[in-house]
Amino acid sequence: MTLYLLRRIASAIGILLLISLFTYAIFFLLSPDPAVQICGKTCTPDRIDQIRAQLGLDQPFWQQYLEFIRGIVMGRSYGEGASAVSCAAPCLGFSFQTNESVMDMITARFPVTATVAIGAAVLWLLVGVSGGLLSAVKQGTGWDRGAMMVALAGISLPNYFLALLLQYVLVVQLQILPFPQAVPFAEDPVRWFQNYLMPWIVLALGYASMYARLVRSNVIDTLGENFMRTARAKGLPAPLILRRHALRPALTPVVTLFGMDFAGLLGGALITETVFGLNGVGKLAADSIAKNDQPVIMGVTLLAAFFVVIGNVVVDVAYTFLDPRVRVKSA
């Protein structure tokens, strides 16, 4: 078991390094010279050289990349002398456009992303799983057909369109909700909730629809399995069958999928945050891409990949506990 865990972690680190190398190389090749950007309107070639030296941009690619990796592990400093800036470990980079370390920018915005992710996750799990279960149990009825149609619509609706639609209907026409405005929870919990409600709904709808379909088909499959027939033949009541025998094999794949989806969301739901103006990590990514703030883009990309890869590992390990068949294999 520990061997398996170590192997998985090693391979996760390997993938992360590879992603960082790939991303670094792509931006190295494609990005316009950051020194020229920082230099501004009235620039001279001498000044550009000075800035490049400060940022370490005159070093060869491999050296720059290694410095970057070293920064993540041990922290690093940029430039020399009075104008040197230090960046504590893990240093994901330093934005010279905003004079902040990328890690600081991300940690400032992470709470918003986490709120969006957690709220949406609660919503989609509740709605998706229970909807799917109900559909499976009432297979073939009007409820089932209706729910599955809604689910199909849910996965086909682009979330920015839904966002606009909801805003138009709920805020402009019916005026049920006030338009989104960032308010800290402590100050006005009701307003805070109203602020996040639409982003949660928009994000959750797609996932809930997907999960409902998945849960439904898994439960139906499980209910049709041989061991279920045995349980029914033994005379066990239906709810008990459902709870004790059907749920676990049916929901195991959902758990693992949820791990992946949630991990992905922690890297920032870019479109949702942008459309609703939420200052989260996703919006940071979108804004930095618009401003071509390369260190920030790098940092956010790595962070998002980190969550996904870790999520993968967690999910794999969880699976060995949840699915006995898998456990045997890895022993």
Binding site: P32, V36, Q37, I38, C39, G40, K41, T42, C43, T44, P45, D46, R47, I48, Q50, I51, Q54, G79, G81, A82, S83, V85, T98, N99, E100, M105, A108, R109, V171, P178, F179, P180, Q181, A182, F276, G277, N279, K283, L284, A290, K291, N292, D293
Partner: protein, 564 residues
């Protein structure tokens, strides 16, 4: 329809200002944005983008320049008031607009008494000198360039952190500061109003290249209480600021709350609804989509409009094939449909047609239209004639650099459509918003034409025409003369006007030069864009300042009633 800030309009504004002092605290609404504010309360400012830098040596755009006046003071500054009155230079830290030596190379300023930083320590001439020296450090020299361009010894000097002392700025005593220039500069009184002339305690340990962006040291009526980059900035009163030393700033509110990162449409919604604390809020210009929603009398009463003071134009790269032919450039000037470009920018409330490069808010602006067409809709027939004359009877095609931002794209599409009628095919080269100015400012990378804008650094033709049209100002990188115009007659005339000491004469000369340059068609002026701003019902003292891109002058604004 041109907007002019004529005497009658100013007089009307003055009357309103005087008459506006009716019952303070009269119910829910205020007395309108032009009434005089009361002391107290907090003004909320809703913004889409954050300020680029809190360090005045690095920040350099209309919005941030306006903000700096709340926390910083410079030797001189722009006045307050609408139109030309607002862009006049008046003394701020200095007692007057400076005395110049006979050879025009030395400028002396005397500081007022009782000037203090926010911690109570006095502001001396050494602190002003330190502030200016900082603007030479290559690491942070991204803001106003005028100190580096005018002061002697700039070429080898790299700022107080690297080189040390700059001898061409002398401080014989705590109240006096003397600048030695490279060559005479008649407008130096305007130069010392630039952001880089903000004083800071002359201590390289305390004030570094990065410390001010995090926590400024205020010399103005307010100081920074808290700053969360990208989301919020709070200002509170700076008790060390003595109102008796300041004729420009009224400092009515007790504080300002800036909120950043708001979506532009959301800002419009909130300003239109004006609920709760938003009654104390101001913001930037509304989107085109909101214009039709602010036509009711109630909203019109809360709406302020003004010219941005900038010119939107299309630069034609005269070094490229076809573009080097004046007949071709004239054809383009005739074919352009300015009406559709105006519509693309939001219609008549958000833009005026421009046929000159100098905007109406710059002294010396003269009206002319060298390439007229009916209703400014373009004259494709005349364009075709000129093209045939130039040997291109079947038209031609060229590449237009455009910035991937919705309004500029829409403007470019309007240009494309209009030129197509004259047989000219326009291909787009879409450039990222963040690198756009870098690309068009690099002579090796720019294409045949580009749509861009220019705002004067202060309201004089000297900050407008030379950067755009002086042949000696063509740089391989960071170039503003994107037409790459290098005409000996023009260059000579620019040098002549620069040397003039009579500002009125110089202004008139700039105006005439504008027309002379347009005969060569290096650029096609398109629009003078306007700001339309909705303010909260409780806001007072708000007007559009022509020196800050038409934004609301922060140092004059306040609330009608401070109970809220």
């Amino acid at each position: 329809m041109k907007q002019r800030f004529s005497i009658p309009a100013l007089a009307a504004a003055a009357v309103l200002l005087l008459a506006g002092c009716t019952s303070a605290g009269s119910g829910s609404g205020g007395d309108g944005p032009s009434s005089t504010p009361v002391k107290g309360g907090t003004v909320d400012v809703l913004l889409n983008a954050d300020f680029s830098h809190l360090d005045p040596v690095q920040g350099f755009d209309g919005g941030v320049n306006n903000f700096y006046r709340l926390i910083y003071r410079t030797l001189t500054t722009q006045s307050t008031g609408e139109g030309a009155k607002g862009t006049e230079m008046v003394p701020d830290l200095a007692t007057d607009l400076g005395t110049v030596s006979d050879d025009g190379l030395q400028w002396t300023f005397t500081l007022k008494d009782d000037l203090k930083f926010e911690d109570g320590t006095p502001i001396t001439s050494k602190d002003v000198k330190f502030g200016v020296e900082r603007s030479f450090d290559p690491a942070i020299a991204v803001g106003s360039p005028y100190a580096r361009l005018t002061i002697a010894g700039a070429d080898s000097y790299e700022g107080p952190y690297i080189t040390g002392d700059l001898p061409s700025i002398q401080t014989p005593d705590d109240q006096t500061i003397v600048f030695t220039l490279k060559e005479p500069f008649a407008d130096f009184a305007s130069v010392v109003g630039q952001n880089s002339f903000t004083p800071f305690p002359a201590d390289t340990e305390r004030v570094t290249t990065t410390s001010l962006d995090k926590m400024p040291i205020a010399s103005g009526p307010y100081k920074v209480d808290s700053y969360e980059r990208g989301s919020q900035l709070k200002l509170v009163r700076n008790d060390s600021w003595d109102p008796k030393t300041d004729d420009v700033r009224k400092a009515y509110p007790d504080g300002f709350d800036f909120t950043f990162g708001l979506d532009a449409s959301t800002i419009d919604e909130r300003m239109i609804a004006g609920q709760g604390d938003d009654a104390n809020a101001i913001a930037g210009s509304v989107q085109a989509a909101s214009i039709s929603r602010i036509q009711t009398p109630a909203l019109k009463a809360r709406t302020i409009a003004g010219l941005q003071g900038c010119t939107t134009y299309m630069g034609l790269n005269t070094t490229k094939p076809n573009m080097d032919n004046p007949l071709v450039r004239q054809a383009i000037a005739y074919a352009i449909d300015r009406e559709s470009v105006k519509d693309a920018s939001g219609g008549s409330q958000l833009a005026d047609i421009a046929t000159t490069m100098l905007p109406p808010t710059v002294a010396g602006h003269t009206e002319f239209d060298l390439y007229p067409s009916k209703d400014n809709a373009g004259d494709p027939e005349k364009a075709k004639e000129l093209l045939a004359e130039a040997g291109l009877p079947d038209g031609f095609s060229f590449t237009l650099d455009i910035r991937s931002q919705p309004k500029m794209q829409a403007q470019a599409e309007a240009v494309q459509q209009a030129l197509a009628k004259a047989g000219i095919t326009v291909n787009f080269n879409l450039i990222d918003t963040s690198t756009y100015y870098e690309v068009i400012g690099t002579t090796s990378q720019q294409n045949d034409a580009a749509i861009t804008g220019w705002c004067p650094d202060w309201a004089s033709g000297s900050t407008f025409l030379p950067p755009l049209f002086d042949g000696s100002q063509i740089f391989p990188k960071g170039n503003s003369n994107i037409a790459q115009l290098n005409d000996p007659a023009v260059n000579e005339r620019i040098a002549e006007i620069r040397a003039m000491t009579d500002t009125d004469e110089a202004n008139a000369a700039w105006g005439a030069l504008d027309e002379q340059i347009q005969k060569l068609v290096p650029t096609v002026p398109l629009l003078f864009e306007k700001t339309v701003m909705v303010v909260g019902a409780n806001v007072a003292g708000a007007y559009s300042h022509a020196g800050y891109s038409g934004g609301i002058d922060y140092v004059s604004v306040g609330l009608s009633s401070a109970g809220k």
